[in-house]
């Protein structure tokens, strides 16, 4: 059975419902287990970390919808952040932001070209880009740290507006924008179509190669943007920025119900996945569980989530 657009109401409803249930269960569990959990300060921290995680995983969601993968997200984030930081630290705020976004976009477009026009499997193409972006980052930074940014810029990562952390607001806006694009524009529908059945997509007139280049480009652009938020957060950039993030980035997408085969899922899911991850990490720290167990928790949760999704699909479709 091959459907070009698998956005059956039941699928989406199940994802949102099940993830919300998980979030509610986690919150309830942690509120009971730790007195400091349900404070407004802690909620702010969780939301901020979830927002950051979402920004990192948003672009990847789009790529995965087309049946692809982007392993270079963390490295592209780091490279863009370093290039942007170099300019921002010298006072060229706008130029730095444009440079970071530009670098991210460029890397993404190269990924897209490799996958769509040269025909390199996305896994290898983006894996190669991971190395290339890391390498260029090392060469660019020469082992230095860039620190000390304009307070106006730092607000992007560390600031508040009406009591809400700015990254959360930015993430909310992005979530809404991407949701609209995915569900209400031909571009979004094309992504689902390509993921569901690339051949049929092409036959119905969708310029698949161009769309793929665009979607990888967007992924790179969003990685560049996420890089800016990260360095605004920690007020420093070095060539290691973005290195440790690969597993959580993919986990958030998968937890959100987006299938790696493409054609199924959405951006709301990724937002919920990011929230779940942030809750798990925060909860483990609250309970004093050694950080070594965090990878285990993430791995187990990812498997359980997919198990639930597959079981549901099997029973109801």
């Amino acid at each position: 059975m091959i459907a070009t657009v698998q956005r059956l109401p039941a699928d989406v409803a199940f994802v949102v419902f099940s993830r919300t249930a998980v979030v509610a269960a986690l919150v309830a569990l942690l509120a009971v287990a730790s007195p400091h959990f349900l404070t407004s300060d802690n909620m702010v921290i969780i939301l901020r970390q979830a927002a950051l995680q979402f920004l990192l995983s948003a672009g990847l969601t789009l790529v995965v919808l087309t049946g692809g993968i982007d392993l270079s997200v963390g490295a592209v984030l780091g490279l863009s952040a370093c290039v942007g930081a170099a300019l921002i630290a010298k006072g060229f705020l706008l130029a730095g932001i444009i440079a970071a976004l530009g670098v991210g976009l460029a890397c993404g477009l190269v990924n897209g070209l490799m996958v769509a026009y040269v025909g390199i499997p996305a896994f290898i193409a983006t894996y190669g880009m991971l190395w290339i972006a890391h390498g260029l980052g090392y060469v660019f930074m020469k082992g230095e740290v860039i620190h000390g940014f304009d307070p106006a810029f730092r607000a992007l990562g560390a600031g508040f507006w009406a009591g809400i952390p700015i990254p959360v607001l930015v993430a909310a806006v992005l979530l809404l924008a991407l949701h609209i694009v995915l569900y209400l524009t031909p571009f979004g529908r094309a992504l689902y179509a390509i993921g569901g059945n690339p051949v049929a997509a092409r036959l119905t007139g969708i310029p698949t190669k161009r769309r793929l280049v665009q979607v990888y480009g967007i992924s790179g652009l969003l990685a560049g943007f996420a890089g800016l938020v990260v360095i605004a957060r920690v007020n420093a950039a070095d060539s290691g920025t973005g290195e440790e993030l690969l597993l959580p980035i993919i986990a958030a997408v998968v937890l959100g119900g987006t299938s790696l085969f493409g054609g199924v899922g959405g951006i709301m899911g990724t937002a919920m996945g990011a929230l779940i991850l942030a809750l798990v990490v925060n909860g483990m720290n609250m309970l004093g569980i050694p950080t070594f167990w965090q990878a285990f928790a993430m791995g187990a949760i990812v498997i359980l989530a997919v198990l639930a999704d597959v079981s549901f699909k099997r029973r109801y479709s």
Binding site: H147, A158, N235, G240, N285, P290, T291
Partner: protein, 323 residues
């Protein structure tokens, strides 16, 4: 395929430097190319080579702190037969067989920053991590009046620097009964993980009087997190390494103090020791650098870019050693 072959051949055949006659070539190993601490080490090493008339090439794993890669680097470098190895292990146990191979090949080794056992080496250059951990913790304890609650943000748990610094912290805490250690969590020597761990700890413990961080990269992050939460004035943060970022934080009052773990000096002295050994000079088995605490009163001396740091005085350093 032909184009690729031409490109690749051109890339590789870019003339490999012919060994300058008479100038010994020394390979200086560092743990990675991301942490500015190791950059300072490399700059110090280059200075020593320039001052003493030798050539230095650097070796670092492409994946930061990667054991398997450093092992391969050592093996590949043995083939190139340098005059000496200046070496820091990414894991002080796992790299033992590799350095034993260097010993077998008859190439002298100077070890710095992380001690190793079961291998032959000309000398060990470093600051004693246990003493550093002890001194910086004691400094923090004194600054909060000997009473209070503190948190420890550890480095990479497997690293001997982290293990010994923690031992020093524990020794200092034994001598300070008025201090309660609320938690000890690893930040892996990296800023973002440390910030995230600490933020969560801040929620768990509304009152934290002091934070001991295993390095400055983490300490500065923690200090920023405190400032962002409006708790900067109530919590004193100390770190280790005295990197430029940390110095700036100390000068601005965000951080309280840092213990100098001079990568620049270690790199310089270790390379100088290797060169002097090749000339036939006798070396002490241990070259220890004294622990210096940097705080607001003396921070200006450290606010110098690494390239402009003065080279340590060899004779003075040696004289200060117990020979």
């Amino acid at each position: 395929m032909r184009l690729l072959s031409i490109l690749l051949a051109a890339l590789i055949a870019v003339p490999v430097p012919v060994l300058a006659q008479g100038k010994p070539k020394i390979v200086v190993f560092t743990k990675n190319v991301t942490n500015p601490f190791w950059r300072a080490v490399r700059i110090g090493a280059d200075k020593a080579a320039r001052d003493l008339g030798a050539e230095v090439e650097h070796a670092a794993p492409t994946k930061p702190d990667n054991i398997e890669e450093q092992t391969r680097l050592v093996e590949d470098w043995i083939v190139r037969k340098p005059a000496a190895f200046v070496f820091v292990p990414v894991d002080y146990k796992a790299l033992v067989p590799s350095i034993q191979k260097v010993n077998k090949a008859g190439i002298p080794v100077v070890i710095f920053s992380n001690r190793m056992t079961d291998v032959d080496f000309v000398t060990y250059v470093g600051s004693d991590d246990e003493t550093i951990g002890y001194e910086i913790t004691k400094h923090l304890v004194k600054s909060i009046g000997g009473k209070g609650k503190i948190v420890h943000i550890d480095g990479v748990p497997a690293a001997i620097t982290a293990q010994n610094r923690k031992k020093g912290l524990e020794r200092a805490l034994k001598e300070s009964p008025g201090i309660e250690l609320l938690a000890s969590q690893p930040g892996n020597y990296r800023r973002l993980p440390a910030v995230q761990v600490f933020e969560n700890l801040m929620q768990r413990f509304p009152t934290i009087d002091g934070v001991v961080c295993a390095n400055d990269d983490m300490a500065v992050g923690v200090a920023e997190a405190l400032a962002a939460a409006g708790r900067g004035g109530k919590t004193k943060v100390v770190g280790i390494d005295a990197i430029p970022d940390g110095i700036a934080a100390i000068q601005s009052g965000k951080m309280h103090a840092s213990a100098d773990y001079s990568g620049h000096d270690q790199g310089y002295l270790a390379t100088a020791a290797a060169i002097r050994h090749l000339r036939g000079e006798k070396m002490p088995k241990d070259i220890s650098l004294p622990v210096v605490i940097v705080e607001k009163s003396n921070a200006d001396q450290w606010a110098v870019p690494v390239e402009q740091k003065p080279a340590p005085d060899w004779k003075k350093v040696i004289a200060a050693q117990k020979m």
